[in-house]
Amino acid sequence: MWSRTILLIAVSFCGSLYPSAPTHESEDVPVVFTKTAKPQPLFDMLLYPVRIQSQINATVVAEADAIVTKVVAPLGKTVGLHAPVLILKHIDPVYHYRPLVIPAPVAGVVSSMEVSQGTRVTKGQKLASIMDPKQLSAIAEIASGDLASIQLGLTAEMKLNGSSKPYSVTVIGVSPQLDPVTGTATCLLALENRDVTSVPSGSLGKVTFKVRERRAIAIPEHALVYRENQVFVRIVVNNTARFIPVNVGTSRGGIVEITSGIEDGMSVILRSSVYVAQGERVKVQPAESAEFE
């Protein structure tokens, strides 16, 4: 899992900030802790709040002015298609010859019941809603700037608030229109896991899109040296410290991408026992050896 790799690297680098067991070093030659530069998988992350909703969400309405005589399917009851949900009695005595049975328009679970026995309802009034908790999807509002990166079929990871369980989601639809009020376009995400029943519809979560996946060299941010508006990375060549000007890309979690300047296999100084000058002789102590534990 990428996030875990990133986390591991971040933790290990953060750990390397401070000497875990400082060793006695000789006073003249500074000790430097290095790491060999290797391209590693990198990506940009886009985080969005999502709301879970059921793909099936039906409303049961009164067909005529009537009084509720019986709630057949109370809240939470699973109903089949056309199964009776409510039984009403028409207000007009003309129709009293038979009860008015309100059937379920879809198969699902009664998610809200707004009337009870004896309630006087008018024609067209919403009585109950039925949804299918097994057919869930997620809605995210995507800011205009990120729309280009979100394509159909893109998979992403979703976590619901209050739980750490990851769900895998796929983009199945993006609205071609921006809402003028929010400046966002709605994006529909399909949940892939089978065990979605435990997810209540309407709950909020966060989805993480990973875009622009690539391989590049990344080093901890603290290994950068800023000199006169230029960014340098110190490397060791033949036990001598060198300052190499670099271009940096995006940074996340204390790890920064080096877009140019550092090549595969260079020995990068992560930290040093004292300040090190350009061309100074140093004693190398690889950071990997002790500090990955």
């Binding site: 992350m45 985080l47 509002e141 209050g162 909020l204 603290h222 300040y275 090190v276 100074e280």
Partner: protein, 1497 residues
């Protein structure tokens, strides 16, 4: 005058009197507060204010600069603030006000609090609540006791301990604010559920408003029912934490929810930045107490520890306590140590006495003086509020050695007198002889005591650091030594008389008499050899002079400098600063690792550690050693081990719980200045990294941290917010920032009282808040039915911004400070030199980066030390001068006074050599040692010279024999004095004990210096003296023949006169007229005014009087000496008169006089300013005259050239017969007139120049003004504008207010006036050497008078000054009015003449057109030459007029600039406008008209 003689006869009275005094002294001694250092303060007050919801920049611009400005105004209220440092950090602003030495700490705090509290009303509520003002005393000792228990949590421990301990501890009067600190602090946390919030479209604002409304109780008024009043009130709805759950929150959609629906309310440990304290690893409660300013830290600690121990007995047994830091123990041991040294010094003095005197009884008689004068000194110490501290105790130790001298002299003289009158005597005779003996020495004893005290006097009047440190020492010596003279004159004779009555009146002999005699003989032999060998003498002088010069040039600057050595301590402090941590738990891990390393490194030497973590990036490990002696090794080891890395900085230092803010300056201090904080930080960081890489300094730091931190900015999408508003959604961009605040750090929305403590209520998001930028940008926000991310409404951008901003006295700067490891401190100077080279190189390499607005400045880091050393050097110089004057008074001969002073440079040799040999330092103490040494060394050589003179006079020996004899006889007393002092100082010089460390340099300086000085003095002084006596014999022989009254011209004086003449003439030659700018010229003119010179001189004197206030208390000695020598060669008589007035006490009168002097200074300054104004106006008039006339000359020369052309033309035409002769004559007259006018102008130039010369001495004012080029480019000769700058004159109104304030103050002081004590003494000595007897008859009178009040004189002077001031003010007003008038008239002239010139230009064009038409027609033969000539003249005339018109306009422009004070640029703008408005076809310059067409060629 007291009749002492009677007193000796009644011993009981003497004993009773002195016994009572001694009892009082003992009582005072036991009740003197004990502290480590003198009780002198240099307060630092800090103010910290949290920003609340605003950003640092916002806060700085809205409040920060204003507050700084208000704080700076303290200075104008007479409260001297040394510096105001302001640091705008990430979350709060911190202000640090450093006051001057001697400022009362509480006053300082109160003044600052007044200002800040008044200002606070402007601050937003959150900032107001966070406001914190306090006294910072980093050196003040504090008491820390930790409490921990295996079975109880910190919370329950706290609940148990607080009621048991704190009520009584709060009663301790010396403590300022004792607290029992529970690091596990709790808060009421409201964890909001973000999804529910979003669904309900709630933002934290809604919750905050609802909670705050419920937290308030409101009154419903009251009703009166006849019997009483009934109060109506609605109490606060929330009683318990659980009640918070029921707070009702209305949502925007109209629903009503309870807080429990959207959040969880918790009573939880405080989140985020937490202070952590651990003692030897286990978390503990800490009891902190620090002394209030002036409070006694030792007493405070003792009381609190006692209370804690008592209370713990009643509490459960598993509660442990540990005294982490106990300054009382430290102070006790340090002070005890020095007390032991005092006793050792006294004992050694007694031993020396015994060795030289012999009789035990006599030794006791003499030695009783030592404790007695110390005990008596306690009385005065209590009176003057001087503590028993390391410094004053050492003063007492010093005086112990000096004090026996007086009683030894008294005893010796008594013995001598009794030996001179052998045989049995009755009581009355004994008393008579004794009184005679004592009277004989009374004056010399008083005089010599006074002279040794006089040496210390300058010390008592130094200010700042040196006074704070050494003032007490000087006072202690003066008190104790002063009493020793009195005791010697009263008690010693009384005891002696009683002993005599028992028949013990013989002087006894030393137990080691034989060796001493042998030494005396050998010394005499060596000395007579030395005296008789001029070559050896000359050689040794040369060697010593070269040695002295070498030591001064090479040795002295290389000696390491320090302010004062500190007593040994067993505490090592390791400060740790990291970068980038976000929570204190992170640092805890790091510090834990470092602590483990410290434990490993110190090993068995370590007793325990005490860790403090203040915030996420700052922590301290205090390591306590088992043995103080390991300190040096431990310190070195730690410095070597913990070296700075780019991410972590360490500082190691020993820690002393002292009260005195002894400065600990860095070895290097550089300021980077420039407008932009970001760029400044970058420059400073580059420079600091560059220096780090050079490895010159082991610890470099920057203020503020240059570490740039990521800042995330929110930029709302405005069009979208408008769309939202249209939809009726009441969301504001601030709500989102607020949301982010709640989501990240949490927001405090109120306080709630629990168990008498107010607990913060903090709003936060559940799940520990957001951790990354992505988390924040994706915060859900409910908009209608949609849930959108925060990023949809705002642009979220991460930028790098400096973490904080530092302002020193209102100026933003970044400061780089470098420190050296202790082991490398000796190479400080060398490193600084190399660093300077490096940085100069760096600056020249980075010119492009620095540009013209960024600067790198070196600061003198040691400014306080250097000032102090400088001050002490002045004190040393003054004491030398006083000594010289006293010597002159005593010997009446310049030569002998100088011979006596030879011991001073000899002492210098010894001091520098020994300091260098023993690796000691040049510190305040070692300079004090030199001052002290001078007193003793000179006393020795006085004995030699004085006795030499006496022997020669009394025994009529040859000079050589006389000095050798005198030296042999005086060897013993000299050895006694030197040995007592050297031995007394030896424990200190060896650095035994704690006090030894502080005063080791002093001890080394005194022992080394005195040793060397005594050795050489014993040979050189007699040798020089014999030379002098030989020369004197010759001179007197010559004088006897010529004239008895002939004054002896002093060769030195002659050389001085010659030198000053030479220098004077050289200076006269040097005043050669170099070209001056206008400003310089004005300065020169002002300098030439004799009145200004006088006023300046007075001003300087006033300032000198005023600024180093102390020095005016110095004794003023005036001296007259005359010598009469009658023709009778056997008798000579001399008389000397001297008056000396010693203002011994600082009283109100003197203060009033200083205030008056201050006002005098102001009025003189104003007079000088008025003179400058006058000089300016005079000079500008003259200069303007010169410039105008020179311009006129040019115009008239131009005119005459033109006329000449016309004349030759006319002549030609006349010859051809075209014009009549009158025409030519007319033109000739014109020419003559033009030339005459030019000459007139020239005369005017000369007149103005003469005026300039009379003002300035020459007329060479160069016109090299910066705007000259610009003027010249525009065709304007450098008749540049001169700015009189009326606008920038002194603010008389402000001045008036100051005078009124001063008025009030002077009145106050007058109320406090007290008489100052004047001590007048005069003496004359009348020597009749006719008989061979020892015939020195002394008569002396000591008049103690209470003369009139100096202050009154100062006050009346001050009244005079007010008058002078108002006259000066009037003059200034007049000048201003005249200037304004001139400005108006010059402006009018400019306008009119420019108009005129422009209208004339129209004429010129017409004339030119007509002329050229005519010329053409003339060529075609249509016009005759006469008509053409007429047209040509018309053209010329109009051109001339235009030239003149422009010239006048131009002159007025100059005058405008001259008289008005407009800035030059604006003048130039006026000029530019005129230029553009002019007709385009005219020549570029009006002063250079186009030459007319030549005709006739």
């Amino acid at each position: 005058m007291l009749n002492l003689n009677k007193l000796y006869g009644s011993p009981l009275r003497v004993y009773l009197l002195l016994g009572a005094l001694a009892a009082a002294g003992l009582w005072c001694g036991f009740h003197l507060p004990i502290s480590l250092f003198p009780n002198s303060a240099k307060p630092e007050v800090y103010v910290s204010i949290a920003y609340g919801t605003s950003t640092p920049e916002e806060f700085l611009h809205t409040f920060g600069t204003d507050l700084e400005e208000q704080l700076r105004r303290l200075n104008s209220r007479g409260i001297e603030v040394e510096s105001i440092e302001a640091q705008y950090k990430r979350a709060q602003a911190e202000y640090n006000l450093k006051f001057r030495w001697g400022m009362n700490s509480q006053n300082a705090e109160r003044e600052v609090a007044n200002i800040v509290n008044a200002f606070a009303s402007r601050l937003p509520q959150e900032s107001r609540e966070s406001l914190n003002i306090g006294l910072r005393n980093q050196n003040a000792g504090f008491l820390a006791i930790s409490f921990y228990s295996e079975s109880q949590s910190l919370d329950s421990l706290y609940d148990l301990l607080k009621p048991a301990l704190m009520p009584q501890i709060l009663q301790v009067s010396d403590a300022s604010l004792p607290v029992l600190y529970n690091p596990d602090q709790r808060e009421i946390r409201i964890d909001l559920k973000p999804d529910v919030m979003a669904t309900l479209q709630l933002v934290p604002r809604h919750v905050e408003t609802a909670i705050q409304a419920e937290l308030k109780g409101t009154t419903g008024g009251s009703v009166s029912n006849g019997k009483g009043t009934i109060q109506l009130e609605m109490p606060r709805q929330i009683e318990k934490i659980e009640d918070l759950n029921q707070v009702i929150i209305p949502t925007p959609s109209g629903k009503i929810v309870h807080l429990s629906d959207i959040a969880q309310v918790d009573w939880a440990p405080k989140s985020g930045m937490n202070e952590i304290f651990k003692s030897s690893g286990s978390p503990s409660l800490i009891l902190w107490a620090s002394p209030r300013p002036g409070g006694n830290v030792k007493r405070m600690s003792e009381q609190i520890i006692e209370m804690v121990n008592r209370s713990l007995k009643d509490l459960p047994k598993d509660i442990h306590s540990r005294v982490l830091v106990d300054p009382s123990f430290f102070i006790r041991s340090a002070v005890q140590n020095v007390f032991q040294e005092v006793i050792i010094a006294a004992l050694l003095a007694v031993v020396v006495l015994f060795v030289f005197i012999g009789s035990f009884r006599n030794v006791i008689t003499a030695a009783i003086e030592i404790p007695l004068s110390i005990v008596l000194a306690f009385i005065l110490m209590r009176w003057f509020g001087i503590n028993l501290n390391l410094i004053s105790l050492v003063g007492l130790a010093l005086s112990a050695g000096m004090n026996v001298d007086a009683s030894v002299v008294v005893m010796e003289n008594i013995f001598r007198h009794f030996e001179a009158n052998p045989g049995p005597k009755d009581a009355a005779t004994r008393l008579r002889i004794l009184a005679e003996a004592v009277n004989e020495v009374r004056f010399p004893i008083l005089a010599s005591t006074l002279s040794s005290l006089v040496v210390f006097l300058p010390l008592t009047f130094t200010t700042d650091l040196s006074n704070a440190l050494l003032g007490d020492l000087a006072y202690a010596v003066v008190f104790s030594h002063g009493f020793s003279a009195i005791v010697a004159l009263i008690l010693v004779p009384t005891i002696r008389l009683q002993l005599m009555a028992r028949g013990t009146e013989k002087a006894t002999h030393s137990p080691i008499e034989a060796p001493i005699l042998w030494i005396e003989r050998t010394y005499a032999k060596c000395l007579s050899w030395f005296v008789s060998k001029p070559a050896a003498q000359a050689g040794s002088y040369v060697v010593l002079a070269v040695l002295l010069a070498f030591l001064f040039v090479k040795g002295l600057p290389r000696l390491p400098r320090e302010i004062v050595g500190l007593p040994d301590t067993d505490w090592v402090v390791l400060d740790i600063t990291t970068e980038g941590n976000t929570s204190s738990r992170q640092l805890e891990t790091t510090v834990g690792e470092v602590e483990r390393e410290v434990t490993r490194l110190l090993g068995a030497r370590l007793d325990y550690t005490f860790t403090q973590i203040y915030d996420a990036n700052e922590g301290t490990i205090l390591a306590r050693l088992k043995d103080k002696r390991d300190m040096k090794v431990a310190w070195n080891d730690m410095e070597r081990r913990f070296r700075n890395t780019p991410f972590m900085k360490f500082a190691v230092s020993p820690w002393n719980p002292s009260e005195l803010p002894i400065p600990d300056p860095p070895a290097l201090r550089i300021d980077v200045m420039g407008p932009d904080g970001n760029k400044r930080g970058e420059i400073a960081k580059d420079l600091a990294d560059y220096l780090e890489e050079s490895k010159l300094y082991s610890r470099l730091s920057t203020i503020p941290h240059t570490h740039a931190e990521k800042t995330v900015t929110f930029l709302p999408h405005m069009n979208q917010w408008q769309a939202l508003a249209k939809e009726g959604i009441s969301l504001r961009p601030n709500d989102l920032a607020d949301l982010s605040l709640v989501a990240t750090t949490g927001r405090q929305v109120g306080k709630f009282p629990i168990k008498n403590e107010s607990i913060a209520i903090v709003l936060r998001f559940a799940e520990g808040g957001s951790k990354s930028t992505e988390d924040i940008t994706s915060l859900p926000i409910g908009l209608g039915a949609k849930i959108v991310p925060l990023a949809a409404l705002m642009d979220v951008k991460a930028i790098l911004a400096p973490s904080s901003l530092f302002r020193l006295n209102g100026q933003e700067l970044t400061r780089i400070e470098g420190r050296l490891d202790k082991a490398k401190e000796s190479s400080k100077g060398e490193n600084l030199r190399r660093a300077k080279l490096l940085i100069h190189g760096w600056i020249s390499d980075h010119k492009a980066t620095l540009g013209s607005s960024y600067f790198v400045h070196f600061q003198d880091a040691d400014v306080e030390l250097n000032d102090a050393i400088h001050q002490l050097a002045i004190a040393l110089g003054l004491s030398l001068i006083i000594m010289f004057l006293v010597l002159l008074l005593q010997f009446g001969s310049l030569g002998e006074a100088l011979i006596v002073l030879v011991s001073v440079p000899l002492g210098f040799i010894g001091v520098i050599l020994s300091l260098w040999l023993f690796h000691s330092t040049l510190s305040l103490n070692s300079i004090l040692g030199i001052i002290l040494l001078n007193g003793i060394a000179v006393a020795n050589s006085i004995l030699l010279v004085d006795f030499g003179n006496r022997v020669r006079r009394e025994q009529g020996l040859s000079p050589d024999c006389a000095v050798v004899e005198a030296a042999r006889k005086r060897l013993r007393p000299i050895l006694i004095t030197s040995a007592t002092t050297i031995l007394g100082m030896l424990p200190i010089a060896l650095g035994l004990g704690d006090g030894g460390k502080i005063l080791q340099p002093l001890g080394i300086a005194v022992t080394g210096g005195l040793g060397v000085s005594t050795l050489f003095t014993l040979f050189l002084v007699p040798a020089l003296h014999s030379l002098w006596l030989r020369r004197e014999a010759k001179v007197s022989a010559v004088n006897d023949i010529s004239s008895p009254m002939a004054p002896r011209p002093s060769p030195t004086l002659m050389i001085w006169i010659l030198l000053s003449l030479l220098l004077g003439s050289a200076r006269v030659e040097a005043v050669e007229a170099a070209p001056l700018t206008f400003e310089q010229a004005i300065t020169a003119i002002v300098d030439r005014s004799p009145q200004v010179g006088i006023e300046r001189g007075e001003l300087e004197r006033t300032q000198a009087k005023n600024i180093p206030a102390g020095y005016s208390f110095l004794p003023q000695l005036s001296l007259s000496a005359s010598e009469f020598r009658s023709t009778d060669t056997t008798s000579a008589s001399r008389s000397y008169g001297a008056t000396s007035s010693l203002n011994l006490f600082r009283f109100g009168a003197d203060l009033a006089a200083f205030r008056a002097a201050g006002l005098e200074e102001q009025s003189r300054t104003h007079f000088i300013r008025a003179s400058i104004l006058k000089a300016e106006s005079e000079a500008s008039t003259a200069l303007f005259g010169v410039l105008q006339s020179e311009l006129e000359i040019k115009v008239f020369q131009e005119t005459s050239t033109l006329t000449k052309d016309l004349l030759s033309n006319s002549k030609a035409r006349f010859q051809k017969g075209f014009v009549p002769s009158q025409e030519v004559e007319k033109i000739e007259i014109d020419l003559e007139n033009a030339l005459a006018e030019a000459r007139d102008a020239e005369i005017r130039v000369q007149q103005y120049r003469a005026e300039l010369r009379s003002l300035l001495g020459h007329d060479n004012i160069s016109l090299a003004w910066p705007w000259k080029d610009r003027f010249e480019k525009q065709g304007v000769t450098p008749l540049s504008a001169l700015s009189a700058q009326v606008g920038t004159r002194p603010d008389w109104l402000a001045y008036e207010k100051k005078v009124q304030a001063a008025d009030k103050r002077v009145d106050q002081y007058l109320g406090k006036l007290l008489p100052s004590l004047d001590l007048n003494f005069s003496y004359s000595s009348d020597l009749r050497a006719t008989t061979g007897l020892s015939g020195a008859y002394w008569s002396g009178a000591l008049i103690v008078s209470v003369p009139f009040l100096d202050g009154l004189v100062g006050y009346s002077d001050y009244r005079e000054k007010i008058k002078t001031k108002s006259i000066a003010e009037l003059e200034f007003e007049q000048t201003k009015r005249i200037a304004a008038k001139e400005w108006q008239s010059a402006q009018a002239t400019l306008r009119i003449s420019a108009e005129t010139a422009r209208s004339r230009e129209v004429t010129i064009q017409a004339a030119r057109r007509i002329y050229s038409d005519n010329l053409e027609r003339f060529h075609r033969g249509l016009v005759n030459a006469n008509d053409l000539a007429v047209e040509y003249r018309r053209f010329l005339t109009s051109e001339l007029l235009t030239v003149k018109g422009w010239a006048v306009a131009h002159q007025s422009l100059v005058k405008v600039c001259l008289s008005a004070g407009q800035r030059i640029d604006s003048c130039l703008r006026v000029w530019d406008q005129l230029e553009t408005r002019r007709a385009p076809d005219l020549g570029a310059s009006p002063t250079k008209p186009t030459p007319p067409h030549k005709i006739g060629n």
